[in-house]
């Protein structure tokens, strides 16, 4: 049954009070501001940090995380969560490494397609069986890890001839790492497609109020399955980037990217309850998270303090970037 809602805090005209335009704009740019502030802080700590080479390395490093977060952002916007992206990316690295010798250049699209299909299956399970996405993807995470272990024989699969994926390691115009450019392209492409088509309102409606969306005839189920499918494809593409970087595939290779990816989404200011947010925000969030993961130890913060700082900064960053006027109740 529907919970009787006494009053939606957001429904009050009173929210207009804290909504003068400049402040609104500011919240919109908060993720970017947080990013710049972090770069500035790291530069103060270690002036060497602010060199083109160093920043280029950050961009290259962040690429897989950006792609992972971009896909999962769609699911979060729909009000769900995807905990299986990292495990799926790990499995995809194994598959890619196994198939590269036979399929060559075709291996990349095939792996992305397979990952998309696996994502879609999870979406189907979520939609048809009515299991919360948290549970479906938690289960999916274990299952995909197991499959990756079995397929790879619990070992690393080396890529001897990495020429089909080597293009990702090139530099565009000598400065921009191809992987970063591709990550940007993926974000831009998905964002543009979503923005230009009815998908934008469908996704937001699903995230804000699934039942209202359904009763308006929005294809809620298809949108969700689609989101899972894209998320899977993104995991597959992130896996391609990882393989091109690691020259191998491993059953646990990307597992540790799960929480950073979710953190990237939330730090970007996308509401974890769904509806409000965007892929661009996740892009900024992924860069912030990468800077924290890589930047802190590089500028010489000891490991124990690094973790403490990471925890503190990430909480503060979310506090700054979340647009509270769009989210009624913080759980």
């Amino acid at each position: 049954m529907s919970t009787p809602v006494a009053m939606q805090p957001v429904a009050e005209p009173a929210t207009g009070r804290n909504g003068p335009r400049p402040a609104k704009r500011l919240t919109g740019f908060m993720p970017l501001i947080a990013l710049v502030a972090l770069v500035a802080a790291l530069t103060v700590a270690d002036p060497d940090f602010l060199t083109p080479r160093s920043l280029t390395a950050v961009a290259r490093t962040a690429a897989p995380l950006i792609v992972l977060a971009a896909g999962a952002t769609l699911i979060v916007l729909c009000g769900g969560i995807d905990l299986s992206i990292a495990a799926l990316a790990s499995l995809s690295t194994v598959l890619l490494a196994l198939w590269l010798p036979n399929l060559g250049g075709m291996a990349t699209p095939v792996v992305i397609a397979v990952a998309a299909a696996i994502g879609a299956v999870q979406g189907l399970a979520h939609v048809l069986l009515r299991i919360p996405s948290f549970i479906v993807t938690l289960g999916g995470m274990s299952i995909l890890s197991a499959v990756a272990l079995v397929v790879s024989g619990a070992g690393t699969v080396r890529v001897v001839d990495d020429s089909p994926v080597k293009w990702l390691e090139l530099y565009v115009g000598g400065y921009v790492p191809m992987s970063a450019a591709m990550a940007l392209l993926v974000v831009a492409l998905i964002a543009a497609v979503v923005k230009a088509t009815p998908l934008h309102s469908w996704i937001s409606a699903t995230g804000y109020s699934e039942s209202a969306a359904r009763l308006a005839g929005t294809p809620v189920d298809l949108v969700k399955i689609g989101a899972f499918c894209v998320s899977g494809a993104c995991a597959g593409f992130a896996a391609v980037m990882l393989v091109s970087r690691q020259f191998s595939g491993g059953p646990t290779m990307a597992d540790n990217l799960l929480l950073p990816a979710v953190a990237a989404i939330v730090v970007g200011g996308t509401a974890i309850t769904g509806g409000h947010g965007s892929l661009w925000r996740s892009l900024a969030g992924a860069l912030v998270v990468t800077l924290l993961r890589v930047g802190l130890p590089i500028v010489g913060v000891p490991s124990a303090y690094e973790q403490i700082l990471y925890g503190v900064i990430i909480v503060v960053a979310v506090a700054l970037t979340l647009d509270w006027s769009k989210v009624s109740i913080i759980k």
Partner: protein, 361 residues
């Protein structure tokens, strides 16, 4: 979504155009030439030690060893930890390599076999001096690279076999044992288990009742051991663990099951607690691997090459990838290993290869 559609489209076309027009290059602009060996003043050398985390005794002693060496040459070691996260390790390495790499010396513990190749290729491209330890795929050889000076590891097959034999001996040559495997996706885990299998072949009286992974973790070993103990009951005479942490977890499980002292336990790594346990007889055997030495020696080799006291081309092929000396520690010799004995002279450029037990097979 705040960013309008038009700028998005513009951005896409721009990046596409950039890709098409500017062409692509193999390297980021500004990548330096590989440093010429021996060009560095000792004070200019930058020492980096990278391990998984500071929260286990073995790796903590590694970093401490690195610090001690750095201090001995008047430098400091940059301590990096990546929390057992392969991607984070790569990210740190590429960030380090994006800085000044001219006199960079890295002593790295790759998270898994798969992580070694990108580290090596990155360091090679940037001209940083690199020593790796433990994990490396068999077909990747330092001899093929200019600045990857050496790869150091312990002979996992041999240690697995040694403790397997010791275990067989202590249970009187016959009876059931259970095996606790490490993280399945690592060479160390696989080699050590292969060693156990070799040992089982020779000791036909010993029967492997069950094998499960406990991921090198003390806590997981505790639960798995408890379950296996109830599954196999009194048939379990011995427990073979792929590292000491798991062996210590198994010891706790035995104590909780009221079977402490009745089941023999062996492990690998010689962490202080395990050595104490061997000394007191709670554990049967372990195999030494010396974290303090490993932390120092990698930097020492790199430092010697960077400062020109050692030429890469002069290093014997056998020393480019080698097994380090290791010892089976039993109750008899445990007292000798109670304190790690790292001699500063081990790190003299003339002595850095003193502990080579043999080339990597």
């Amino acid at each position: 979504m705040r960013i309008a559609f038009r700028p998005t489209a513009a951005l896409i076309s721009l990046s596409l155009a950039a890709a098409a027009l500017a062409g692509c290059s193999e390297q980021a602009a500004g990548d330096g030439d590989p440093a010429a060996a021996g060009a560095c003043k000792p004070a200019d050398v930058k020492l980096v030690g990278q391990v998984r985390n500071e929260s286990n005794p073995y790796e903590a002693s590694w970093l401490a060893g690195g610090d001690a060496f750095a201090k001995s040459v008047g430098l400091t070691q940059q301590r990096l930890t990546y929390g057992g996260d392969s991607t984070k390790q790569q990210e740190q390495i590429s960030q380090i390599l994006a800085g000044d790499t001219k006199c960079l010396v890295m002593n790295v513990l790759p998270n898994g076999d798969s992580d070694t190749a990108p580290i090596v290729k990155g360091a090679d491209k940037a001209g940083a001096f690199l020593v790796t330890q433990w994990n490396k795929p068999a077909d990747l050889n330092p001899a093929d690279y200019k600045t990857w000076i050496s790869h150091i590891t312990y002979n996992g097959v041999e240690s697995g076999k040694q403790i397997g034999d010791a275990l067989a001996k202590s249970i009187g040559g016959s009876g059931g044992i259970i095996a606790l495997q490490g993280v399945l996706d690592t060479a160390a885990a696989k080699d050590r288990f292969a060693g156990l299998q070799a040992s089982l072949k020779e000791n036909s009286g010993v029967q492997l009742l069950d094998q499960q992974t406990a991921n090198f973790s003390r806590a997981e070993a505790l639960t798995v051991t408890k379950t296996l103990l109830t599954k196999h009951g009194d048939k379990v005479k011995g427990i073979w663990a792929a590292n000491d942490d798991m062996a210590l977890g198994a010891l706790e499980a035995l104590q909780q099951a009221g079977r402490a002292g009745k089941v023999a336990v062996v492990g690998i790594d010689a962490v202080p607690d395990a050595v104490t346990a061997v000394q007191s007889g709670a554990m049967t055997a372990t195999v030494s691997s010396d974290g303090t030495w490993q932390g120092g020696i990698g930097l020492a080799i790199g430092f010697c090459v960077a400062t020109g006291k050692l030429e890469v081309k002069d290093i014997a092929a056998d020393n480019r990838a080698f097994f380090a000396e290791q010892f089976l520690i039993t109750k008899d010799n445990a007292a000798d290993f109670a304190q790690p004995k790292t001699n500063p002279s081990d790190f003299d450029c003339a002595n850095v290869f003193k502990r080579v037990a043999g080339p990597l097979k």
